[in-house]
Chain length 151, copies 2
């Protein structure tokens, strides 16, 4: 799943074209297992296709977010991060602990069964209550990390 045809149909369904730059960006996002910033994606894409500009990266990412293919994160360091939304149901999905003092971001994905079930049922509930089609979610816990506790 999620090969070129899948992307192609997805784009056509929205009335968009699956161009080389867009494929290149999806390629990079598929290979990475981290949240990438626009510039990081640009640099990766640039290795293979030096002619693709940064503006196209931003435009494409915005499109992908609207299409629900990509998730946009913000950890408060002044730059947005992106990742494939498909991962939000898969093993790569995770939540975050963010230190208010040093800004460190800790991922955790060792969810309990209870935690998984809870979010699934909550999403179903909210979808109905607000007639809102939920694609994914983000959870961030803020506080003070172990390294900053002594301060």
């Amino acid at each position: 799943m999620m090969g070129p045809h899948w992307w192609y149909n997805r784009f056509r369904g929205w009335g968009y074209r699956l161009t080389i730059p867009r494929q290149a960006i999806l390629e990079i996002l598929s290979k990475s297992d981290k949240h990438l910033s626009a510039e990081e994606i640009y640099l990766e894409v640039h290795k293979e296709y030096p002619s693709i500009g940064l503006a196209t990266i931003y435009r494409t990412l915005e499109l992908l977010v609207q299409m629900g293919i990509v998730n946009k994160f913000d950890f408060g360091d002044g730059r947005a991060r992106y990742e494939l939304a498909e991962d939000s149901k898969g093993p790569k999905h995770h939540h975050h602990l963010i230190c208010n003092v040093c800004g460190r971001v800790i991922d955790y994905r060792d969810f309990s069964e209870e935690e998984k079930n809870f979010f699934e049922s909550l999403e179903r509930n909210l979808s109905q209550r607000y007639n809102f089609e939920i694609k994914n979610h983000q959870v961030m816990f803020y506080g003070i990390c172990d390294k900053c506790k002594g301060k």
Copy 2:
């Protein structure tokens, strides 16, 4: 609770001073029940104290976030929002539904008992597991809102 003395002690405890600009900012945050942007806070503060500059607003907010007094949010519209963290345990606390298509942000605070209990126990669990002192959390669900479904 949370009067001038309380703030004063809190600041002194961190080795900071509770100055007029800082009091003014806390005053505005206390009165508002919305997430305010730095500029909105600046404009409010400016009514009472026209000499206080925008840079001071930013510096103070950063300080307040580090001290755990204020929460910083980011909904992807290019500007950060701030609110008193104390509310995160109180009746004002809420989660968000964010539309990927039009950017609309829907708050909900009609939590079920189950939802409340779940987050409380999850926070206790994570605090232990990661030796991380959790002050508050943010939950955002992304997807397509009712108004954008037809598109």
